[in-house]
């Protein structure tokens, strides 16, 4: 779709402003009631999904240009999808997240990008990663010393796909190593992609670089198909969304699981049992791309149809992505299985969780805003009295590490895999 295809949605947005808040039925406090980091940080209405619908019309009508302010505003959306969930509490025919991303695509196609995006996209093109400074040649360094099949040369049922952040970030590589060892120890026939391992490109799409994403996706789909795997397991929520939702649109037909789903299966089947207690009170942060954006792609080919004169619907019935079927229970079930661990919940959880601040590439392109968003979440986590915050995404973990709350207090941050490892 192009921006002009969103015109009906732009004009049918009713300015209800639900897109600024968690679903009202789930609201628990004034302090943690807002859902959209972009308008919460910048305040002007234009930063909300409603404002972006109106901005989109203005751009299409030629009434405003991509000034420096508007260019930053367009890219300021974290593509976290929280507006999408609350919009769809009441509306059945608007897609605010798709529209927000299309605005970014439109800006990118017109050369309106943020300064930091040039280096990120150059890294993707040259080194097949979205982490500038990292080299393709060092992509598999994290796996050194682990006996695992190279799917570039050998066959296996499962491809373990750690993603750029786990592959290159020295503080996080241990998580990828632990996850892979867990799969091997559980008897999985698993391998890694070897020389074919490369960035999923998901964050390129989140930033509006659709052509670059598509190029990367098509290359990866070819590699997975050549490897002949039946399942792809990833510990990265951004990769998970890209593979499960976006790659599926481009023809990937291989089952995609997040590590937490795989671990849940192993626990259910008795292949993973815990022997140690982890005496700790934790709170769980739902990564956007595993939670509300973790629903599977459902093919659809149809058109709008009006019934009863003016009620607009779709023929045939169109899949509805509203976060209802995201991955929320699997991580909580894994945590519940760890002896001694106590889970306390934050105000904003599951489909209405607050973003970590890394979404849409913002941790790399707009670091101050991204850090504020993380700080808001740390404040919320500390309000629960938890000793640590657990998550299931390297981008979330990295953004929370070192962040402090509104009182300057930090919190321990773990990937769920690290706690599983402690309990073995």
């Amino acid at each position: 779709m192009a921006l002009q295809d969103f015109r009906p949605m732009q004009e049918r947005c009713s300015n209800c402003l639900n897109c600024r808040w968690v679903p009202f039925d789930k609201l628990k406090s004034e302090r943690f009631g807002e859902n959209c980091p972009s308008i919460a940080y910048n305040n002007f209405m234009t930063y909300s999904a409603r404002g972006r619908f109106q901005l989109g019309q203005t751009i299409l009508d030629g009434d405003a240009d991509y000034t420096e302010t508007i260019t930053e505003l367009v890219h300021d959306c974290m593509a976290c999808g929280s507006c999408d969930v609350t919009c769809k509490v009441c509306r059945y025919n608007l897609e605010p997240l798709e529209h927000n991303i299309e605005l970014k695509v439109d800006a990118v196609e017109k050369g309106k990008t943020l300064p930091a995006q040039a280096g990120i996209m150059a890294a993707l093109k040259q080194e097949q990663t979205m982490i500038p400074g990292s080299k393709k040649a060092q992509r598999l360094d994290w796996a050194k010393g682990i006996q695992v099949k190279d799917l570039f040369k050998d066959k296996a049922e499962v491809a373990f796909y750690p993603g750029c952040k786990y592959s290159y970030d020295p503080k996080l590589q241990k998580v990828a190593q632990a996850a892979l060892k867990l799969l091997i120890d559980a008897g999985a026939d698993v391998g890694i992609m070897g020389n074919a391992d490369a960035c999923c490109g998901g964050r390129a799409l989140q930033m509006g670089f659709r052509a670059e994403f598509t190029e990367r996706a098509e290359a990866n789909i070819k590699a997975f198909n050549t490897a002949g795997v039946k399942v792809i397991v990833t510990p990265c929520s951004d990769c998970y969304h890209a593979l499960k939702r976006q790659y599926a649109k481009l023809g990937l037909a291989i089952e995609v699981l997040h590590t937490v789903e795989y671990l849940e299966r192993l626990i259910e089947e008795g292949k993973l049992t815990f022997t140690k207690s982890v005496n700790m009170t934790v709170t769980y942060h739902d990564p956007c791309h595993l939670g509300r954006l973790g629903e599977p792609f459902v093919p659809w080919d149809g058109t709008e149809k009006k019934i009863m004169n003016q009620v607009h619907t779709w023929s045939p019935k169109r899949p509805r992505y509203n976060g209802a079927y995201g991955i929320y229970d699997a991580p909580r079930n894994v945590l519940a299985a760890i002896p001694g661990l106590r889970l306390v919940e934050m105000d904003r959880i599951r489909e209405y969780a607050w973003c970590c601040g890394a979404g849409g590439g913002c941790s790399q392109t707009l670091p101050e805003y991204s850090a504020w968003t993380a700080s808001e979440r740390i404040t919320e986590a500390n309000t629960t009295g938890a000793e640590a915050m657990v998550t299931a995404c390297p981008w979330c973990e990295a953004n929370f590490m070192g962040a402090v709350d509104e009182h300057g207090k930090s919190i321990q941050v773990f990937d769920i895999i690290e706690l599983v490892q402690q309990a073995l």
Partner: protein
């Protein structure tokens, strides 16, 4: 005209660089295309004017400085927070828009059952904070996403809980008000330094001047704080919920009951409503789901209760004989919530309700007694969080046959109004055809009952210009019919005299021409004098209706 660099800098000096913008793309998002929302508050198919700047003050002092600058440079202004409908937007090309988002404080005074709130405290957050201490607030029909200050100080503000809690004007206590000339007025007991507890004396009682019954929709300066009365909440400190989005449901204890009451005739319905007013047993009363239309409401309720439900399910569901039967049983219905302060209290209220139904020949809808349905409706009504289902069918609606009236007057012609709409939908395809009667509204527009607030929802497609125009034509048709019945001005035309069709304010000359022949011109001349006293530079816009006194021979 654009603000000069000097003026812009003066505003920026007040709020800081981050809180002011004159970027065209930003400004464009502060225009209202009224057909995208409820259209009866403004011009039908035009945008409101482009503001010269958007400014976000963070305190009363900043608001005061901004308004003094507006007076100095003769720039119109309008403050808004949640921007629902054209009323919150400017009406002049020489105007700035104040976005009050940064002022969102809430103080709950549990002992005195008062909340003191700033403009961006919306109904949902005030309610959730009040419930933590066993209290609740009236959330008007506009829904919980709207500003409490706006609905309390600027508009009528009745809703489902008004039967037990009263309307905005009744709940408004002290207020802090930056007048259009930049002076700060503290009303009621606040003005006497006695705190927020009373909207009238011992301080100056200007409540009727600043808001009256209907509210002055932001034309009398900027209300920066208001105190509202809170009411008992006999429920948990946070409403427990279950279910998948969007079909969330409440899990409340047995002292809450939610029923859909049905009657065999409108005479019986009116008699039942009057008895409910008398009996004082209802916590909340609203005819809600009929807003979708008499022929489709049962199907819509099924869709809303199913996380996988969609509007595409409507056509097959409408063929279901059981749902057709339910629609027939709920033809003349209303939803009520009973809340017992004790077990004896709820038992008493249930007994009285059953007796009223017996006397009126009414019944409780069985479909709405299903556990999931009851809990869905209970949550919907208590939070008004799904209020924006108003827009679900088509994205836009207009209210017609809007009446704030005695129930016996309103119900006497409701079937005629229904036929009028049904006929229009059948012969013109511009509005949704959902069965004529799509009446919805509150059991009471005043605390304790006595009159109701009604409108028929006329759903139309804001993306379809023919649908917009056709709806406009239908409202004209409704007005002709209402005039012929002596029913006064239709809700869809309430504001046609305060903003021109091109989105701009009316001039004084245009207002003079309108009101000189009004039934009670003195009212408008009185308002002219009020305006001259507090708004000498006429910076508030034409939502405040005035008549130059000399036009009717007054000094």
């Amino acid at each position: 005209m654009a603000l000069t660099a000097e003026i812009y800098q003066a505003f920026e000096d007040v709020v800081g660089q981050r809180n002011i913008s004159q970027d065209k793309g930003v400004l464009e998002s502060y225009r209202c295309i009224t057909s995208q929302s409820s259209a009866h508050y403004g011009p039908f198919d035009h945008k409101t004017p482009l503001p010269q700047a958007v400014i976000m003050p963070g305190s009363t002092e900043e608001v005061q400085k901004i308004i003094k600058l507006c007076n100095k440079y003769k720039i119109q202004f309008k403050a808004s927070t949640t921007f629902w409908s054209a009323m919150g937007f400017i009406g002049s090309e020489n105007a700035i828009q104040l976005d009050m988002r940064r002022m969102k404080g809430i103080e709950i005074d549990e002992k005195n059952m008062i909340a003191v709130v700033e403009p961006y405290a919306i109904g949902a957050v005030v309610q959730v904070e009040a419930m933590k201490v066993g209290l609740n607030c009236n959330i008007p029909g506009v829904g919980c996403s709207s500003s409490v200050v706006a609905s309390t100080a600027g508009w009528v503000g009745f809703g489902p809980t008004s039967i037990s809690m009263g309307v905005a004007g009744e709940n408004m206590l002290g207020a802090e008000w930056v007048l259009p000339d930049g002076e700060v007025l503290r009303t009621g007991s606040l003005g006497a330094g006695a705190g927020w507890f009373n909207g009238e004396g011992p301080g100056p009682s200007t409540r009727s001047v600043l808001r009256g019954f209907q509210g002055t929709t932001g034309t009398m300066g900027v209300c920066t704080k208001v105190a509202i009365r809170l009411h008992p909440w006999p429920g948990p400190t946070c409403i427990p919920t279950r279910g998948q989005t969007p079909a969330y449901k409440a899990s409340l204890p047995d002292n809450f009951k939610c029923y859909t009451l049905c009657y065999p005739s409108w005479e019986a319905w009116a008699k039942g409503a009057a008895m409910l007013h008398e009996a004082e047993i209802v916590y909340l009363g609203h005819r809600q789901f009929n807003m979708f239309g008499r022929d489709i409401k049962a199907a819509m309720l099924r869709i809303l209760n199913d996380p996988n439900g969609q509007l595409a399910d409507l056509e097959p569901l409408l063929q279901d004989p059981e749902l057709k039967k339910q629609n027939e049983l709920m033809k003349m219905d209303i939803q009520v919530v009973l809340a017992g302060m004790t077990a004896r209290d709820i038992a008493y209220k249930e007994k009285v309700l059953d007796r009223i139904l017996e006397l009126c020949g009414g019944w409780k809808s069985e479909m709405m007694l299903e556990k999931d349905m009851q809990d869905y409706v209970l949550l919907y009504l208590l939070r008004l969080g799904h209020k924006n289902l108003n827009y679900t069918l088509c994205g836009s609606y207009e209210g017609n046959y809007g009446l704030s009236s005695n129930v016996f007057v309103a119900t006497a012609v409701i079937e005629e109004a229904s036929e009028l709409k049904d006929k229009w939908a059948k012969t013109h395809t511009t509005i949704a055809d959902t069965g004529g009667d799509s009446d919805m509204g509150s059991l009471s527009i005043i605390g304790g009952g006595g009159a109701m607030g009604w409108e028929f929802f006329v759903n139309f497609d804001a993306y379809d210009k023919a649908s917009i125009q056709g709806t406009n034509d239908f409202i004209d048709e409704t007005q002709k019919w209402m005039t012929s019945k002596g029913l006064g001005v239709d809700m869809g035309r309430w504001n046609q005299d305060i903003r021109r069709k091109d989105g701009l304010n009316f001039t004084q000359e245009e207002h003079d021409a309108m009101y000189v022949n009004a039934a009670q011109p003195l009212v408008f001349a009185y308002q002219w004098k009020v305006r001259e006293a507090v708004n000498p530079n006429h910076l508030g816009g034409s939502y405040y209706r005035t008549l130059t006194p000399s036009k009717i021979g007054l000094a």
